[in-house]
Symmetry: none
Subunit: 415 residues, 2 copies
């Protein structure tokens, strides 16, 4: 199947928004075995939108649109989609009631234009939007399908994952099965070099490396007649890959490192607390994104000032004076103090220079010390992160912290 | 002048790369008063590329392409551009010498296919690329202009800023000036309704609303002969807008709320500390993304467990027992305890139910209490956030916290 992705919104043509929807949809469609031939972006202009849809349908069987389903006058995707595929909009009562109850719930007045969102093409297959007021839908005619999804990425991805994907899977003749491996501690080109022989000879399964913030990832995909065949081919390749780079792989299911760590902590009921300086709470915030983590996460300290390190964690003023706030000694005292205060089984501390200022020749931006204690086992490490930006330095520090915790758990727990 | 941006590269259609070039070029072209009508993305396919160029030229006078200027066989933008505008490629000796010296400099061997990059359409205006090996160029015929730029963003933006911009400025007759207003506490449709009379009658300046995560934004743009005229027209409209919805506007320069708050704290040297439960450090982490914030951010507590709330902040066990951890009383005691411990001028606390589990009928997921104290002024508020996901609930709670701090600062500081 050939497809086009059509993004609607003047804000995209003004460059106010980065088109992440096209990225997401491209990835997902390719994984479903659907070729993406074009991305188009148009503004909120009915003639040009209609023209684009007509044109995309000359080559493609499937168009996915995002945006232009809002309540305002210039939101016209629905109207145009219906027009092109010879349908008309009708009031969808359940959607209207949902929109009404949404406004009641958030205690905001429903304006007249919100009603517009409850009108849907009469032949449409609805995709219910429980994260917003604009439902999505699919409309078909003579083998051509248009799927219209809301623009906000949070709503769009949710709709796609839960409803559009199953809808599209039914249309496809072959089955794709894939695994996405996540690694930490090896760069993308090194990963590729290690796996060159499998990548070069790839017909099926295919191997593709790609980079995520600070990580190299690997997708192993197989397209076969049945799910069982595809699965077996992928599993076999994973075994080969593991022999080469297994020590760097922390997930075979595209999980984030914080999810992997959070799950292990919960599974083994290991209480955890954190003491952060340069990351400003990023570790605690990220780990507590995991649902149910309150069962093991006790507390976190963000001891930004020296005074806070002394008062909350019992870091010695002499240590700060002699070695500085950014030093292994301080990191260790932070973790030890944290252990004393919280009695959590796992305690982790971090101190470093996030930048953009504050670095010296001896202690440059990107210098980070991490100390972790699990019961009686203590690990402390120095990192010199290649300084790219404050945000990157903090994010990479987070990955280092999570990686240390993950390894500590693996090495010290028998599962 | 009407323009289209054409991105070339199969990696875009696979979703391996986010198209930031289109964002950058859109911003820049709009600022030059050049309307961007379309974004197109095609793979490395000569027929489809030629078709797209033809098609874009039916509406547009200007096409800017990015990508497909590399040394490999599938890089064909240059060839197709020359073909469509009836020109042919010729060897450009100075470029060849530059490519040779580039390879010498980075100590890499120059392969035969790199020579391909030195071929340029014979009538082209060259844009010299000092950051890579692919030069850019402009090619014109009968009032139609195509500008081909390399794909790597670092090279593309550099070429654009230094050479393409002056080239285009000479062509343009008008200037666009715009402001992007960010609001909190009003939905997009309510914002539009409030401003309906200005939006309906829009010729110049134009008003457009758009949504960002949890916020409604407004763009006010004017296209005039001179920058002064455009600026005056936008400023005048801002005054009118302010009379209607000024209380919701927190930035006139498209800044994030946390940046606005961070800057105000630093400007007025207000020390701040935070005590978070449901957000798990998100407030501290976000605020400390602002460079230089360590001058005012003292410390943060993530008191996830009841024990932590009692030990670190002095919340009374009776309060927790009687009203629960998620209650106004607990939020207030958290903030008051924080104030006692840290002596920061501004102390903010939050407690709530982030979900997905843990809600009851009386206290549903999304229920949040925030208390903030600035010197002697104390504010405490209840929020009932529409539960979408744990992540969203936490993000929206963050915005509520920042908004409270922002208002507190505005109302209690004379600037």
């Amino acid at each position: 199947m050939k497809s086009a992705i059509l993004s609607v919104g003047t804000e995209l043509l003004f460059g106010q928004i980065t088109n992440t929807n096209s990225v997401y949809l491209s990835q997902q469609l390719n994984l479903l075995g659907i070729d993406v031939m074009y991305h188009y972006t148009v503004g909120d202009n009915p003639e040009r939108l209609a023209e684009m849809i007509h044109q995309a349908f000359t080559d493609c069987d499937l168009i996915i649109t995002t945006g232009g389903l809002g309540p305002t006058q210039d939101d016209l995707t629905k109207e145009i989609a219906a027009e092109v595929l010879h349908d008309e909009l009708v009031l969808h009562e359940p959607t209207l009631r949902e929109i009404e109850s949404f406004f009641k719930k958030v205690n905001r007045e429903m304006t007249e234009n919100n009603k517009k969102q409850a009108y849907i093409p009469s032949r449409a297959v609805m995709f219910h939007n429980d994260a917003g007021t604009a439902p999505g839908f699919a409309l078909e005619e003579n083998g051509k399908t248009i799927i219209c999804l809301p623009g906000p990425p949070r709503e769009m991805t949710r709709l796609f994952d839960l409803q559009v994907k199953p809808f599209l899977e039914k249309k496809s003749q072959s089955v794709i099965y894939y695994k996405q491996l996540r690694t930490f501690g090896i760069g993308e080109s090194a990963l590729e070099t290690e796996l060159q022989e499998y990548i070069d000879g790839q017909t099926d399964p295919t191997l593709a490396t790609y980079a995520k913030e600070g990580e190299a990832c690997l997708r192993i995909a197989s397209k076969r007649r049945t799910l069982e065949e595809a699965k077996a081919a992928v599993e076999e390749m994973i075994e080969k890959v593991n022999k080469k780079v297994g020590q760097f792989v922390y997930s075979y299911d595209d999980e984030n490192l914080y999810e992997v760590v959070g799950k292990k902590l919960m599974e083994h009921k290991i209480s955890i607390s954190s003491a952060e300086s340069c990351t400003g709470g990023l570790f605690a915030q990220t780990l507590t994104e995991v649902p149910g983590i309150s069962a093991v996460f006790d507390r976190g300290f963000i001891t930004y000032s020296n005074q806070a390190k002394i008062e909350e964690l019992g870091v010695k003023p002499e240590t700060l004076e002699k070695f500085g706030a950014v030093s292994e000694e301080t990191a260790v005292e932070m973790a030890e103090g944290l252990k004393k205060v919280t009695k959590s089984r796992l305690c982790i501390s971090v101190t470093g220079i996030a930048g953009p200022d504050g670095g010296t020749e001896e202690k440059p931006v990107g210098l980070v010390y991490i100390c972790a204690i699990l019961d009686e086992v203590k690990v402390s490490r120095e990192f010199r992160i290649r300084n790219t930006s404050r945000k990157w330095n903090r994010n990479y520090t987070l990955l280092c912290m999570l990686n240390i915790v993950n390894k500590l758990l693996d090495e010290n727990l028998s599962s």
